[in-house]
């Protein structure tokens, strides 16, 4: 089995990269506005569908069936596509895929290609490989074009330029777009779209080779499907004489009819639309209509390796809708670049380390980039239990490093050893209470500590910490007189009493707010 390579390896540990991104206030504001807008649209549109849960289950079941029969379905797809006039190529990893595509473009003699927005080509680093071979790849998706002109990398699966606002986009166009009329260019969306349209129209009319990915590949018929909003993809798929499509092996659906489920799930989950504006389907070559030469490059790049893990393999159900990114509170704060992979957000945190294996770059830090809040699982149209896979990958990481000494492992082991025995546990509670008692005098009525030593300093860097209570629950329980249907502490506001009311100051009526004076 081959490990995945390409633009899916985080160069920096997630906490380090996240700190860098958090420092950018403009980025935070842009992300917040954009993710909340898409989030609200998605919720509204999903709410219209009475059988949404059944659709999700169908989507998951169809994809699981694909994963269970992958070799058979891939061969079926290859046979059907070949019969229809396409040429099918196979690539084990990013380097092989890039070599195949570069070779195919070279054969045409073209030095420029137009591209349909595609995650697979971003994953394998195709633009960089083509550039090395002297071939210019022109991104035609508006957001990809913005990112390409800015010499930046995508930060979102669906909206790669989500980290920019329209003022920033105007600046990028004004300074980087060849032939743009700077004086008449405003930051109105219509003006920006018109500038991109003029720029791209010339490219569409001159290009002889187009490169795409595919949202779905139908095993039964050999058909590829691209779902998009702008129509620029349709231009690429129909105008040039040669079309090369780079497709991950997990993109298969068994039958044409299965599209019925996914064409309902995908637009609602991704853009919050009932139906996307352009859905293009093609099956090999149709004489007199569209490209005369059709190539399909099927890419593994770590997918077979991922498939071998019974828990982790559900990540391969992903249809790249990005609903999980838009609802993720971590993604919303740090953006896509913090994940160091073309697959950011919750899905990226489980996909990148599985495709590459945990030892690539800092990918082992990605499964910790989550509070396990579960918003991603709720939003996922194919029911990928992302929190479960995150925990599973953490566990795989811990198990793989069992032999090596680690302060965290020692702490976890000790804590587990203490907690599994009543006497040890009770003694530890008492020790914690006594040990912290001197601190109690420093906290005043607030009951909160401002500074704790390492490693708890990571907590008190940005929030106060509660102290152990003056009396543990079990000590209170041991000392109480069992009630006979009466109040055991008359005269109190609540049973909560005199120490930590949830550790954050007493709640005795009449004393309200004194601890904040």
């Amino acid at each position: 089995m081959t490990r995945g390579t390409g633009n899916i390896v985080a160069p920096l540990p997630f906490p380090t990269a996240a700190r860098r991104e958090l420092a950018d206030g403009q980025l935070r504001a842009n992300l917040r506005r954009a993710t909340h807008t898409i989030r609200d649209k998605r919720l509204r549109l999903v709410g219209e569908v009475p059988d949404w849960e059944a659709l999700r289950r169908s989507g998951a079941a169809i994809k699981d069936d694909v994963l269970a029969r992958l070799p058979e379905l891939l061969e079926q797809f290859e046979a059907a596509a070949t019969t229809a006039g396409a040429t099918v190529h196979w690539a084990r990893d990013a380097a092989e895929a890039c070599a195949v595509v570069t070779g195919l473009v070279r054969q045409t003699g073209s030095t420029e290609v137009v591209k349909v927005k595609s995650m697979a080509t971003q994953e394998i680093g195709l633009n960089e490989a083509l550039a090395e071979a002297g071939i210019a790849a022109v991104e035609t998706d508006l957001a990809e074009l913005i990112v390409q002109l800015a010499d930046d990398t995508p930060s979102h699966i669906l909206v790669p330029a989500i980290h920019y606002n329209r003022r920033q986009i105007r600046e990028i166009f004004a300074s980087r777009m060849p032939g743009v009329d700077v004086d008449s260019l405003t930051d109105e969306p219509a003006a920006l779209a018109e500038a991109a349209r003029r720029h791209l129209r010339a490219k569409f009319l001159s290009a002889r080779v187009a490169i795409s990915g595919a949202n779905f590949a139908i095993a039964e018929t050999g058909t590829l499907v691209v779902v998009e909003s702008e129509g620029n993809g349709r231009m690429c798929l129909t105008l040039p004489g040669t079309l090369i499509s780079v497709v991950g092996v997990e993109k298969l659906l068994p039958t044409f009819r299965d599209l019925e489920v996914f064409l309902q799930l995908l637009p609602r989950s991704s853009t919050g639309e009932r139906m996307n504006p352009y859905t293009s389907l093609w099956t090999g070559v149709t004489p007199g209509d569209g490209p005369e030469t059709v190539h399909i490059v099927l890419v593994d790049n770590g997918r077979t390796e991922t498939l071998a893990d019974p828990v982790g393999r559900q990540a391969l159900r992903c249809i790249r809708c990005s609903a999980c990114l838009n609802v993720c509170p971590v993604y919303e704060r740090v953006g896509g670049h913090a994940y160091g992979s073309v697959y950011p957000g919750p899905i990226g945190a489980i996909l990148s380390p599985q495709l590459t294996g945990p030892d690539a770059g800092a990918n082992r830090t990605l499964p910790y980039a989550s509070t396990l809040c579960g918003a991603c699982f709720d939003a996922c149209p194919v029911r990928i239990d992302i929190p479960q896979v995150l925990v599973h990958l953490r566990q795989r990481g811990v198990d793989a490093r069992r032999g090596r000494p680690s302060a965290e492992r020692t702490a976890m082991r000790t804590l587990s050893w203490v907690m599994r025995d009543r006497r040890r546990y009770t003694a530890a509670l008492r020790a914690a209470r006594r040990g912290s008692a001197p601190l109690r005098w420093t906290t005043g009525r607030r009951g909160q500590v401002r500074r704790l030593p390492w490693p708890l300093s990571a907590w008190t860097a940005s929030r106060d910490a509660p102290l152990p209570a003056a009396e543990t629950f079990r000590d209170w329980w041991a000392g109480r007189t069992p009630p006979a249907g009466r109040d055991d502490t008359p005269g109190r506001t609540s049973a909560t009493g005199d120490d930590n009311t949830a550790g954050r100051g007493p709640v005795t009526a009449g004393e309200d707010d004194r601890d904040h004076g």
Partner: protein, 249 residues
Amino acid sequence: MRIALFVTCVNDLVFPGTGRAVVRILERLGHTVEFPLEQSCCGQMHANSGYRAESLPLVRGFVDTFTGYDAVVAPSGSCVAMVRDSYPRLAGSDPGLAAAVTDLAPRVYELSELLVDVLGVTDLGAWFPHRVTYHPTCHGLRMLRLGDRPLRLLRAVGGLDLVDLPGGEECCGFGGTFAVKNADVSAAMLADKCGAVRDTGAAYVAAADNSCLAHIGGGLSRRNRSDPGPGVRAIHYAEILASTAEGRS
């Protein structure tokens, strides 16, 4: 009905008032609460951090301690979610333990589930004359699907003015070891949550999980040091439900 209290390790040590509140609520309703002293920790931190082997003895301990009871109640959405959602997976390779988990897990309730679903009460005769906002913690919201149960209980409290928390369903940024491993992101999420809480004008932010509340309350307390402002305090909703008018005299 034999009701056992699983107080949770965090509450036992740091927030015993929450445990006392649960006892008081249930005894006021005429039930006898038992507190098996063998209990310690559900193992959530170990399991969620990837230490499955270290969590398993705690899973076994929990099952052994609570198997004989008709109902087990815990004032913590995340600990109950650990038992109901993660125990079956953790126990998977041990058929005996898996069977015991399958038997016990459905009888382990978060407080609002026990009160509303099992005991069929929402009005507990409580009195708490303050403005309160409620943060539905992630595990209660999305794993246990507590829905409006805690809110129904709070709405029945005398004198209480319940105000909506905008963006309430968003995580506060605690996430167990996440708060330490990804401290900067956690702090950014916390700042937004504290801002939303303060904007409600509430005197208290209530929730069903003291670990999330320690994080939110710690953030509010830190902010109050530099910007005294409205002085919102964090409180477990069980402590509100346990408060009575008689107690105020």
